[in-house]
């Protein structure tokens, strides 16, 4: 019930801090698990491949919103006392690892078969073959898609609002509840998201263009 002043903006920016932090946690957690998923998904063991594709199907096939709910309530049911931020971090890690795992699987498979064969012919073992030969090339191939997903993840943190986590969108909701200026507040919130996501998207599509050119 008041104007939007310095305090309100500051409050929204505090939400921004959490948005960025959540995205980073999700990205790092998702990155670590994602590599594992990608490696399992491209392994030669059919059962492991099946299990990992099930994992991917599960987390790509359900809304992030539901994943947040289920983890938020489900973890508590297991008797583990976690606050909202931990539950949300777990949910984002699961979600991100499925998507990044799938992106990276694709890029591992996009590394020409000849590279793996050359590594085999030199007698390199799995670890060295992956670490020295395949993954460096795969990561480069995957850069545009990876950055694209990071943007999705940042936007996805807005859903954490629904389990009451005070990130950017939730901060906006709270301020809009106090000031009764939802349009203005959400306009500001939208612009803040845009200011974070747009430069990233730009870097991503720049890389994509450069790679398309190199491939020609």
């Amino acid at each position: 019930m008041g104007p939007i002043g310095e305090n309100e903006l500051l409050f929204i920016l505090q939400g921004l801090k959490w948005t960025v932090l959540l995205a980073i946690i999700g990205f790092i957690g998702g990155g670590v698990f994602g590599i594992l998923i990608a490696l399992v998904r491209t392994s030669k063991y059919p059962f492991a491949r099946l299990a990992s594709s099930g994992y991917i199907a599960l987390f790509q096939g359900t809304p992030l919103l539901m994943q947040l709910f289920v983890v938020y309530y489900g973890v508590a049911l297991l008797g583990i006392d976690v606050n909202a931020s931990v539950a949300v971090a777990i949910a984002f890690t699961l979600h991100a690892s499925a998507f990044l795992g799938e992106i990276w699987r694709g890029s591992i498979e996009a590394v020409p078969k000849g590279q793996t064969e050359a590594a085999n012919a030199l007698g390199l073992h799995y670890v060295s073959r992956m670490k020295d030969v395949v993954l460096p090339q795969a990561l480069k191939i995957s850069m545009p898609a990876t950055i694209g997903f990071l943007v999705q993840l940042i936007k996805g943190t807005s859903l954490a609002a629904i389990v009451g986590f005070i990130e950017l969108t939730r901060a906006g909701q709270i301020i809009s509840n106090q000031t009764y200026r939802p349009l203005l507040v959400f306009g500001i919130v939208g612009i803040i998201y845009f200011m974070i996501c747009w430069p990233l998207s730009h870097v991503g599509s720049g890389l994509e263009k450069r790679m398309a050119k190199a491939a020609r």
Binding site: Q60, M66, L77, T169
Partner: protein
């Protein structure tokens, strides 16, 4: 801890869940159709040589892809009435989904269009076909085929995004879930069940897309 699961209270409300699911499916299909139309028309404009046709599309794509869907749907629902355009929640949801999916579709389909070799287009011109015919008859189908997998996953994501439409009171699965939850307080059971339903819906979507692909893109390539 001593929590006892009780899915009975949730299954008692099965009809509501069913209607909610149908609501979600309806929103998803209508949203997708609109997204596809926006995507195809958008690509035609996006690849135009005329700057003032191209740049608004670029701006549209950038804004939509870099802001959360929640903020977008909120704007359409609450801000457009201030300009005299009042849309009910269902229509709002469809438009929001269409716009969001459309922005992604433009970029995806553009990738497909650009993957079509210049020779194909020149062959069309050399036969005397006009630009619109070349786009419609020669470029579009192979372009869609080339990007069909990414389009599929984008549309599955769109289906899942319908869950966010609950925030403007559109009738779909998540709002049904929230009603049931607020009546039964069986939060975990409700969301667990609904998550499973979403999984079924998205698998169904992928199945449908695979079927379409098999009948529409059934020509062989090397």
């Amino acid at each position: 801890m001593g929590y006892t699961f009780d899915f009975g209270a949730v299954f008692d409300r099965a009809p509501e869940l069913l209607w909610g699911s149908l609501g979600s499916l309806g929103l998803a299909f209508a949203g997708m159709l609109l997204a596809l139309v926006i995507g195809i028309l958008g690509v035609a404009a996006r690849t135009s040589k005329i700057a003032w046709v191209r740049s608004p599309v670029i701006a549209f794509v950038e804004v939509v892809r870099n802001t959360p869907f929640l903020v977008q749907i909120f704007f359409i629902y609450f801000a457009l009435p201030l300009m005299g355009i009042r849309l009910n929640p269902t229509v709002t949801a469809i438009i929001a989904l269409g716009i969001n999916g459309g922005a992604y579709a433009i970029e995806i389909i553009r990738g497909g269009v650009e993957s079509i070799s210049k020779g194909q287009i020149e062959a069309g011109f050399a036969l005397g076909l006009h630009k619109a015919d070349v786009f419609r008859l020669i470029v579009l189908k192979p372009a869609l085929r080339a990007i069909y997998p990414s389009l599929t996953s984008q549309f599955v994501m769109l289906t899942l995004t319908t869950s966010v439409c609950t925030s403007i009171a559109a009738y779909e699965l998540t709002s049904a879930a929230q009603r049931i939850e607020s009546d039964t307080f069986r939060s975990f059971e409700v969301y667990f069940t609904v998550t499973a339903i979403y999984l079924v819906i998205s698998s169904l979507m992928m199945g449908i897309f695979a079927l379409i692909s098999r009948s529409y893109f059934n020509y062989p390539t090397r």
